[in-house]
C-alpha cells in the first residue's frame, strides 16, 4: 500500500503539473522536459499505481484499497496545491526518494 500511495501521489502531482493553472500556483516558470511529458507521465504512473496490489491474495480487496489510496493521494495533492503550492514539487521529490527506498526494500530481500 505505501508504494501504491507514493506512485499515485506522483501521478496526481504530474497531472496537476500538466495543468497551466496549477503550474502557476507552484510558481514554475520554465516548462522543462518534465513539463512536456508530465501528462503522459501522470497517466502512466496512475496505470502503474495498482500494480503493488497485484501481490495481495484477493483482487476485490486489492481494488478497494487502490480506490482508497487514490482518494488519499489526490486529496493530498489538492490540499498542498491550496495551502502549500510551492512546496509541492519538493514534496514530490521527497516522495520519489521514498518510493525508491520502499521499492529497494521490497526487491532486495529477494536477491540476497
Amino acid at each position: 500500500m505505501p508504494i501504491s500511495l507514493c506512485l499515485s501521489f506522483l501521478a496526481f502531482f504530474a497531472l496537476a503539473f500538466s495543468m497551466g493553472r496549477h503550474r502557476q500556483q507552484m510558481t514554475v516558470r520554465r516548462l522543462g522536459a518534465f513539463g512536456r511529458f508530465s501528462a503522459p507521465a501522470g497517466w502512466g504512473l496512475l496505470l502503474l499505481s495498482p500494480l503493488p496490489f497485484a501481490l495481495l491474495p484477493n483482487e476485490g480487496i486489492a481494488l478497494t484499497e487502490w480506490f482508497g489510496v487514490l482518494t488519499v493521494a489526490a486529496t493530498g495533492v489538492l490540499l498542498m496545491l491550496t495551502y502549500r503550492p510551492r512546496a509541492l514539487p519538493l514534496a514530490a521529490a521527497a516522495v520519489s526518494v521514498l518510493l525508491l527506498i520502499l521499492a529497494l526494500l521490497v526487491v532486495l530481500p529477494g536477491r540476497v
Binding site: I61, T64, F67, T75, L79
Partner: protein, 561 residues
Amino acid sequence: MTGEGSLRQSMSWLHGWAGLVLGWLLFAVFLTGTIAYFRQEVTAWMQPELAGSVPSPQAAELAVAALQQRAPDAGSWRIGLPTPRSNTVSISWQDRQSLDVKRGEERGGRGGRGGGRRGGGESLILDASTGAVLTPRKTAGGNFLYRFHFELYALPREWARWIVGLATMAMFVAIISGIITHKKIFKDFFTFRPAKGQRSWLDAHNATAVLSLPFHIMITFSGLLLFASTLLPLTERFAGGEDRRGERGAARALEAAHIESLQNRAASDVAGGAALAPLVPMLAEAEKLWGQPVSRITITDPGRPGAMVELLPTWNDKLIQHSGSGGLGAVKMRFGGRTGERLESEEDLPETLTARVDTALGSLHRARFAAPTLRWLFFLTGVGGTIMVGSGLILWSVKRAQRLRGAPPGRGHRFVDHMNVAGVAGLFIAVAAYFWANRLLPTGLAGRGEWEIRAFFAVWCLCLLHPLIRPLKRAWIEQLSLGGLLFAGIPVLNAITTRAHLGNTLVSGNWIYAGFDIVALVTGICLLQAARRVALHRPRAIASQPPLMPAASAYTAQAAE
C-alpha cells in the same frame, strides 16, 4: 435552445432538490455511518474500565481456565480473543439444556436468528493478561450510532428503513445528476479556492464528491441493496442474497447434522485423553494456514468425548465471504477437542453470481473485512462524504442568498438556513454530548445506555431551537464553537474522569483508546477553526455596495457564510 444546456440545467435543478429534501437526514446518516466504521472502538472507549487489559499470548488459556472454573458442565463455550479492535477477552457459555433445545430446533430446520443468545447462558469480559473479570459500565456504545445510521431511533423498524432507504435513493439521484451537472470534472480536479464565499463552497462540494467518487457510488449503491428487501420485498425471491430466511433454516439443519457427525468422529477417536487438548497449537496451525490470527473460538461439548473446537479468523479476506453477525462465519476450522487434530477447514461461499455480487457489495458497505489501514481509508472517505453532504446543504443556501442580492429571504429559505445550523453543527454537538454523557452519568445508573441516547436527542433538540432566538451568523458561530469545545474537551474530560486517558494510553500504545481521543481532538479543532472562519468572514459583495435594507442585507451577509 441547446440540448446540452437544458439537460445540465434540469440536472442541476434535480441535484439541488434531491440533495436538499432529505439532505439533513443524509448528513446524519453519513456522519453516524462514518463513526460506525469504528463501532467496536467507540464501544471500547465508552467502557474505560476495559482499557487496562493488554493482549497476551496466554489469552486463550486464561479464557479456558475461567470457563472450566465457572461452567465445567456447559453445553458450549465461546471465547472472543483480543484483536486489533478489542484488547479484552470475552467468554460466554450456554447450559446443556438450553443448547439441547436449540439443537433440536436446528435439526428441524427452525433455527432462529441469534438463537445462541437465548436463556441459560452467561457472558463475561476478562483482562487479557491476568484473566481477572472486568465489569464495564453499561453503555449504548458505538452500537447506537451504528443502528441510528440506518434504522434511526424509536421508530418502527420498517418505517425507519423506508425513510433512510428513500434518502439513499435521493443520494443516488443526486450522485448521477451531480456528475452530469459538474462542468469541469477534470479541469477542476485539484481545485479548491478557500475564503471566496460561494466559489469555495462549490469547490469543497465538488472536490469531496469527485475525489471519493468511487466510495460514494459504492456506499450508496450497496446501501440501496441492503435496503432491497425493505424497498422491494419481492427481490428476496430472485436475488438470492445474504438474507434468505427460509433457506437459512434449512442450511442450519444441515450444518447441525454435519457437526454431529464430526463430533461422533471425534468421540470415536480414542487417542486423546478426557481433557481438552491445548489450544495454542491449534491457534498456531490456523494462523499459519490463514495468514492471520484467530479471533473466536467455540468449544462444543467441552469435557465430553465428542468435544469439538471451532476457530474463526479475525477478518474475512475475500469480499464474497458472507459477513454474518459480527462479520465472520464464512471461514472456519474445526479440531477434535481431545486429540487436537484438525478435522476440517471450511470456506463457505455464495453459489450464484448474483449472490456473490450482492454479498460483495454488502461486505464493501459494512467494511467488516477491513484490516486497520483499510478501515482508516474507509473512515477518511466517509469524512469526505460527510463534508460533501454538509457543504452541499450550505451551498444551496449560499447560492440563493447570492441571487437575492440583499432582498429578504423567503420563509422556505429561512427554514433551510435554520435546519442547516441544527442539522450540521447541531449534530456534532449532539454526538459530542453523547460521549460526554457516557463519562458524566453515574456508572451505576439504571438504564444507563438509554440515558446516553436521551442526552443525544435532548441536546440535538436544543440545537434545533437555538437558531430561533439567535441571528443566523451568531447561531452558526455559537453551535460550531460549542461543538468544537465539546469535542476538543473529550480528551480532557477523559483524563479527569478515567485512567484511560492519553497520558496512559499513548505511553502503553493502546491505540483503540488513544485513537478515539485524538480523533475527537482533531474534530474539535476543525470545528473551532470553522467557527473562527465564519466569525472573521466579511462578504465582499455586501461591503462594496450600499445595503438595500439594513436588516435584510445583514441577513444575507450571514447566509453567505
